[in-house]
């Protein structure tokens, strides 16, 4: 499915009850490609031909079209190359700046320490502890993640 149609898929119902709003789709696709920096020759490009990182951005854009106040991201950078990772981090920061609350799940240490304001560490399906930004170190996280008690 072309990027333009893909980006509007989740938000279609917000805009009309039954009929497609083609002008909205075109404008939305242009906006998202620009603001997310999706690298594509046109918005008619099939989404499956994009690189992993750009596909991930399309998925993100699909939900951002709903103008959410809370965003849940599960491993937002898995299977994404390093350059695109940085862009996704930048986007997350911009969104947070704009007032969107972001709850994200990650198993990458560097990503957690770099991105989060508050971290809940889990071990065997249970929350083992909460770390504030100032307490975030690899050691503290590992300790909780392996079932230890916080220092």
């Amino acid at each position: 499915m072309a990027i333009r149609q893909n980006l509007s898929l989740a938000a279609l119902r917000q805009n009309s009850r039954a009929f497609l709003n083609r002008r909205y789709e075109r404008v939305l696709a242009g906006e998202m490609i620009r603001s997310l920096g999706i690298k594509t020759p046109s918005d008619q490009q099939p989404a499956h031909l994009l690189s992993g990182g750009n596909q991930q951005k399309v998925v993100l854009g699909k939900w951002l079209a709903l103008k959410p106040r809370l965003l849940l991201l599960d491993e937002p950078t898995r299977g994404v190359d390093i350059g695109a990772k940085q862009e996704i981090y930048r986007l997350m920061e911009e969104l947070a700046e704009a007032g969107v609350a972001i709850l994200f799940v990650s198993s990458e240490m560097a990503e957690i320490i770099g991105m989060s304001d508050r971290t809940l560490v889990m071990h065997q399906g249970r929350i083992r502890g909460e770390l504030q930004r100032s307490q975030l170190t690899e050691e503290a996280i590992m300790k909780l993640a392996t079932g230890g008690v916080p220092a």
């Binding site: 898929l9 989740a10 279609l12």
Partner: protein, 329 residues
Amino acid sequence: MKKILGIFLLLVAVCVATTALNPKFLDAYNVQNTVRWTSLFGIISIGVAFVIISGGIDLSIGSTVGLTGTMLAWLLTVKHFSVPGALLLVFLLSIVIGLSHGLLITKLRLQPFVVTLCGLLIYRGVARYLTNDETLGFGGSYNALRFLSVGHPFSIPFPGGSLLVPMPFAIMLAIAIGAAVLLNMTIYGRYLLALGRNEQAARFSGINTNRITIMAYLICSLLAGLGGVLFALDVNSIQPSGLGEFYELYAIAAAVLGGCSLRGGEGTIVGVLIGAAVMRVLYNAINILGIPTQLEFAIIGLVILGGVIADEIIKRIVAQRRARVGTDR
């Protein structure tokens, strides 16, 4: 547009070849009949197109046609129902059939092939049991109702007289326009195409895929039911064991010829109608060219196979050329 060009050329080629071999092909009467039967098959083909685009299949169409057609005749002539009452019951039955297919496929996760194959057996059996396998007919009555199928609401000028436009053509046209709008201009249509392309991705995009699927089977059975009514009114000699037999295969063939991929997510209404026209013109050609009718299936099969092979080869050549242009840049 590119996708239906091939099938459109096939239609033109078959028409030209048939006319060259027997000019009677273009007689007003013959054209009228071919248009009428193309329209009847077009209606059930549009129905199955929705299911095929969703990524499913409906094998029960022929038996649904048989059951609804038989039911109509049985309710009117044996049970002496009023016309609106009989029509209402027949359409309710089609809705129940479509809903059960959709619910079994989505809620119980049964395979569409299996569910509708069982439907094919069940509805045929019920039709034969209801009527004791006796042939039914409307005789000379119910002419107002039969107008729906055999009537000619208006005529258009035609070389060597005028061409009476068959009523089923008008019905088919209205349905085709409605279906094209639904498929291309509504959120439902977009969701259906997304579902057919990639069901998981569609679900992850917040689409209620079950509802979209159920709707597709509902549309298919409803149009098969309408087809059953019209076919019954048309033939006027309704054999419970024969009415609509193999029609599911004609409908599926028309849809596939017309560019619907059996993998789902692709198809146009115009393409499906051209596909239905190819099937009917071939059938007509076999008749008027004096080709032994025993060969009917073989010839239709061969032409469709040829069309599909040509389509595939053209697609590959186009893809290769595009890839070459891509690397040159």
